[in-house]
């Protein structure tokens, strides 16, 4: 049961949030020029990282804003949360 620091509201209980998977996967702009493999990669394939994972959360029962989190998927420690568009914070010092 995480405590998540919403960049807009502050620390809240995990039950207020929902997670929506890996962050920083940009939708291709030239979709018609992609191969099926390139398109499939975007739609379905994920890093599923064991370790530091950048992921999208939304404060569903709160401000309804989407943001990103940097979390260790082994320990579930959340190192940072940051707004969409912000550069992910360096996590070198918190390598698992």
């Amino acid at each position: 049961m995480f405590i998540i620091d919403c960049p807009y509201c502050g620390k809240r209980d995990q039950t207020e949030f929902s997670c929506h998977g890996e962050a920083h996967i940009a939708r291709p702009t030239d979709t018609q020029n992609l191969t099926d493999e390139q398109w499939g990669e975007y739609v379905f394939f994920r890093s599923n990282t064991k370790g530091l994972h950048r992921e999208r959360w939304v404060h569903t029962h709160g401000c309804r804003r989407w943001f990103n989190a940097l979390r260790n998927t082994v320990t579930d420690e959340i190192f940072a949360t940051y707004r969409v568009g912000e550069v992910p914070p360096g996590a070198a010092e918190s390598q698992p």
């Binding site: 039950t15 997670c19 379905f44 394939f45 994920r46 599923n48 064991k50 992921e55 979390r71």
Partner: protein, 414 residues
């Protein structure tokens, strides 16, 4: 391998059980193998067993980073069924159920496969349409399938509260469905594989996949390098980690999935009950514990810990459907790591690296498929070509769009 029987039990009792053999040896790894299986869970052990006993491939190692059956094999709710909608799913799961039906005898190990019936409940018009379609599809695939009225449901389950928040409108019964003893499946396959010459190596973690000219040549492990002509990765929640070692991604995400059991009580519920409508998945083990499936969190995790609110949202519906369970007690709760694909169907497939095969993505439902998955995967690896049952579950489907979308077919309310 010395056979187990009532007589062997009696004979051994006379010698104070001093002469039982090891169920599997614990050899040091050889320099190389024809096939290395990564992952000593049910699926991996079954693959090794069938490779050695049916495919003539005996020079096989199973590498397990911890202890056999310590992943999802030992953490699931032991449900076995084959009542799936789509032909490809029916193909693999029914193949598995048929193998389950003779498995104790095949392995000479009692896996306690108990066909006590599996009942899906429908709580809305939409549910009725869903089981209507699925029931017909199952039937026409040659698998047993029966519709029950609410009254018939009540006869099977006298303790059910038909008039719950979403009243029970009907049920879909697979009589051949049921449960099995999860640990026994791993141990039984391990014993059989070992007897057929397979090296089962525990506490041996794969740390790298060696590839030469896009062809797999071996694996690095915590016990040194092991050469391999072929490698089958059967690592469930850790499959993406293995893929990353080989330099590619899989269409998988690993989530925590939780389950719980109650204290043991005398028989009170005689079949497996599944209610997607109000989220109850319960059966009673031979020991008497209620075995209850909980939910899966939506965040990626390898921690084998889930969120407690899911337990609350599991127990609430349980008490809603079976109000008399309210005074029973939860004895244990735990989590496993399930590897889930977008279409909720597994992957049994070649990979971008030659001779490296993957069997993963079983999500929340892998246990039931164990014999079928191992059997199909073994034959596919042996022939270097996915067999008819495994073929639809290729990784390529995520590029072509030929998803096997059981999830979409069952969900979406209007």
């Amino acid at each position: 391998m010395k056979a187990y029987s009532l007589f062997s039990l009696a004979r051994n009792a006379m010698s104070y059980h001093r002469n039982w053999q090891r169920v599997w040896r614990s050899p040091d790894p050889k320099k190389s193998y024809d096939v290395v299986i990564i992952g000593g869970g049910g699926h991996g052990l079954a693959t090794a067993y069938y490779l050695a006993t049916q495919c003539g491939v005996n020079n096989v190692a199973v590498l397990e980073k911890g202890w056999l059956g310590g992943g999802n094999t030992g953490r699931n709710t032991t449900i076995v069924r084959s009542n799936y909608l789509l032909d490809a799913s029916a193909g693999i799961y029914e193949h598995a159920v048929k193998l389950w039906e003779g498995l104790s005898q095949e392995l000479n190990y009692n896996v306690m496969f108990s066909q006590r019936g599996l009942l899906h409940l429908a709580h809305s018009v939409h549910d009725m349409q869903e089981i209507g379609r699925r029931g017909n599809a199952i039937y026409l695939n040659g698998i047993d399938s029966e519709f029950l009225t609410p009254q018939q449901v009540k006869e099977m389950l006298p303790i059910i509260n038909l008039n719950c928040r979403y009243p029970v409108m009907g049920g879909l019964l697979q009589k051949r469905g049921g449960t099995a003893r999860h640990d026994a499946v791993a141990w039984g396959y391990a014993r059989g594989a070992d007897a057929a010459g397979v090296d089962i190596i525990q506490n041996c973690e794969v740390t790298g996949i060696r590839v030469d000219n896009n062809k797999v040549v071996g694996v690095d492990t915590s016990r040194g390098y092991i050469g391999a002509r072929k490698v089958g990765a059967v690592a469930a929640g850790n499959s993406s980690v293995i893929a990353e070692m080989a330099g590619f991604k899989l269409p998988l995400e690993s989530y925590p999935l939780q389950a719980l059991v109650s204290e043991p009580v005398k028989p009170i519920i005689d079949c497996v009950v599944m209610s997607n409508g109000i989220h109850v998945y319960v059966s009673q083990s031979d020991k008497g514990e209620l075995v209850v499936g909980s939910g899966s969190d939506a965040y990626n995790s390898y921690s084998q810990r889930g969120s407690f609110d899911l337990i609350e949202h599991t127990v609430g519906p349980l008490c809603e459907l079976f109000p008399l369970f309210s005074r029973l007690r939860m004895l244990r709760q735990w989590a496993g790591i399930v590897d889930v694909t977008v279409d909720r169907s597994p992957i049994m497939s070649k990979s971008p690296v030659e001779n490296l095969y993957f069997n993963c993505g079983w999500g929340t439902g892998g246990f039931k498929a164990t014999p079928g998955s191992g059997h199909a995967f073994a034959h596919s690896i042996a022939n270097s070509e996915m067999n008819e049952i495994a073929a639809p579950f290729s990784i390529d489907r995520f590029n072509s769009g030929a998803l096997i979308d059981e999830g979409a077919a069952a969900a979406v309310a209007h």
